[in-house]
Point group: C4
Chain length 201, copies 4
């Protein structure tokens, strides 16, 4: 099962790259085999996402320390964000990070992204109608992973739709499985494209 999951995830990572969501080596991805697991499978640092394969995951513990450490293997520089998401949202087993441009464009101008009246909002788990108001938080960018960990700890109650956006950087989206994480990421991207073109073009 782990082989199939790695295969499916790697395929989606390559497709996202072909859409322009992860130029060159940027972005990162992780999964756990079960919510209660400590071990996290996360994308290695520095892999070109156009060629990402099943072999390009490595294992880290719940604090992001490599298991079976090798000097040749480095987990993604943003591993700390993944670890914190798994801690704060314990049903999570998959996290996807994207640099797709529309969420980034919105993040440059807004502290939060607000959507109302779009059918596709129902792509977020728990949203039952296009009439509900969906608010996605935007956090400042930082090179310090502890900054994001603290922000999440302090703002957990604002993160209600399984995703957030880092200003001028990109989107984190997650779910109780790969399938749901993918739906959350694609839903946010589509909403941002629609609203950006609607307001701006």
């Amino acid at each position: 099962m782990i082989d199939l999951l790695k295969h499916e995830l790697a395929k989606t990572i390559r497709i996202y790259n072909s859409k322009g969501w992860s130029p060159a080596t940027s972005t990162n991805y992780s999964f756990k085999l079960a919510p209660e697991d400590k071990d996290i499978h996360i994308s290695k640092s520095g892999i070109d996402k156009a060629n990402f394969t099943s072999e390009d995951f490595m294992e880290v513990d719940e604090n992001g320390n490599p298991i079976n450490f090798s000097i040749h293997l480095k987990p993604s520089a943003e591993t700390g964000i993944h670890c914190q998401i798994y801690k704060l949202f314990p049903s999570t087993t998959c996290i996807l990070h994207s640099h797709s441009v529309y969420p980034v464009l919105w993040s440059l101008e807004h502290k939060e992204l607000v959507f109302e009246g779009f059918e596709i909002q129902k792509g977020f788990e728990g949203v039952m109608s296009h009439q509900e108001k969906v608010v996605i938080p935007v956090v400042e960018n930082s090179q310090d992973m502890a900054f994001f960990e603290n922000w999440m700890k302090e703002n957990g109650e604002k993160i209600n739709f399984h995703c957030f956006v880092i200003k001028g950087h990109g989107t984190y989206a997650w779910g109780k499985n790969f399938f749901e994480a993918k739906r959350h990421l694609e839903t946010l991207d589509y909403l941002c494209e629609l609203k950006w073109k609607s307001n701006k073009a």
Copy 2:
């Protein structure tokens, strides 16, 4: 023949997904083997359209009730719209639903979409010249399928080009076969892109 049709339709569904017309599990599709048939083959609920295959159709009757019911199988939540289209436009054997962004963008601002002077209008069955005026109705969105069924019943004479758009949601297009339904959907999408960029960009 049904196997070939399912195969061709599934291929097109995956291609539309790669164009960004159906993020994650959104959108739905159906066909009948003949116009006089009661049975409808419709996409199962909750299937990621990036991976949609021939196996992801199920059968419902003319009222949308599953045939050979199984608790594991649910037809698309919008099955009622499909059933009503088959009833009101009896030569129809294929219905496609898309979330492609340009029709949705237009739907946010207009009660109907008007096209005149574009060669590609001739992609709608019965249109003979770019000089004819093509008017595509826009309907409010709703979570209540009966709302759409009533709207169609009451506005059938306004639906002259084998498609309509739901506000903030997406496009329904149909035809006497898959080939024609596809042409109607792609024609509307292209016209909306052209006119949106022309008026707005």
Copy 3:
């Protein structure tokens, strides 16, 4: 050689379709085996360009009349335009027609498309520098093929870059072989995208 050419041309037709340049059955394509040949191989009418194959060409004579006529075979409705191009520009052996949106967008507002200062202008045969001025004519749309034939006859001296655009419709581009026709079509499309985004976005 004819099989290879049909194969390559069909592949490019499918690629152009995937770019959105030929929604559903729209657009048409032709070639001759040698400039002095009378016979023209042209795309059949009504073929979906997503699935266009080597088999989807048929033969017509220099006036567009089907050779080996069958009631099941109809050449493209715009065959007359192809015939006229072959007559007026006798070194031509390949003609491509596209509905890509940027030339169409420009055609809605301009009687001719003027480019100056872009490196890629050198993609037009005979242009040696980005500093030359390239002028592409725009013609009104019509359902009457004779209208285009007359326009070309009367305006041949304005058609200096192996292509023209029909208002609200699309581009015709040609060359002494498929390779050159492709270069002319893609060069115009790129220039129109660049200039549209530059002036408008």
Copy 4:
């Protein structure tokens, strides 16, 4: 190893073509097997980038003169730019040239492209934070290769991020290997898209 490199580079060239970065025969690419090598492998002139293969490289010396000269083989018309980059930046072993539209659009209006506050800036070798200021020079276009060689010689200290843009023409990006050159090219393209849409749309 040279076969694998040619294969990988050719694959990326075809992918860039499919993204619209190199219409028809435009753009050019080169590599060396080691920084100290004199021989340069460069794309032949006039190859359609949709069909570029491993066979479409040829060897030139450090001054751009063909090795094993054949009248049928011509290196890219811009070979002089490649030679000069290898001379001025001696750790370089791979150079990529692109006509992707966003850098070209910026080049029409600016003497240099300035980026600040975007995470992806870290895709440029040596940039450690999104807060650093990245300045990419823009040079006038010319048909005279000596013009570019002189410009580079005189402005080497302004070329700090392994790339520059030629006005109305395209991007040159390079690196100590193919992998790094690709990262630099894609990073600049993404930044230009983001900033163009942000400022303009």
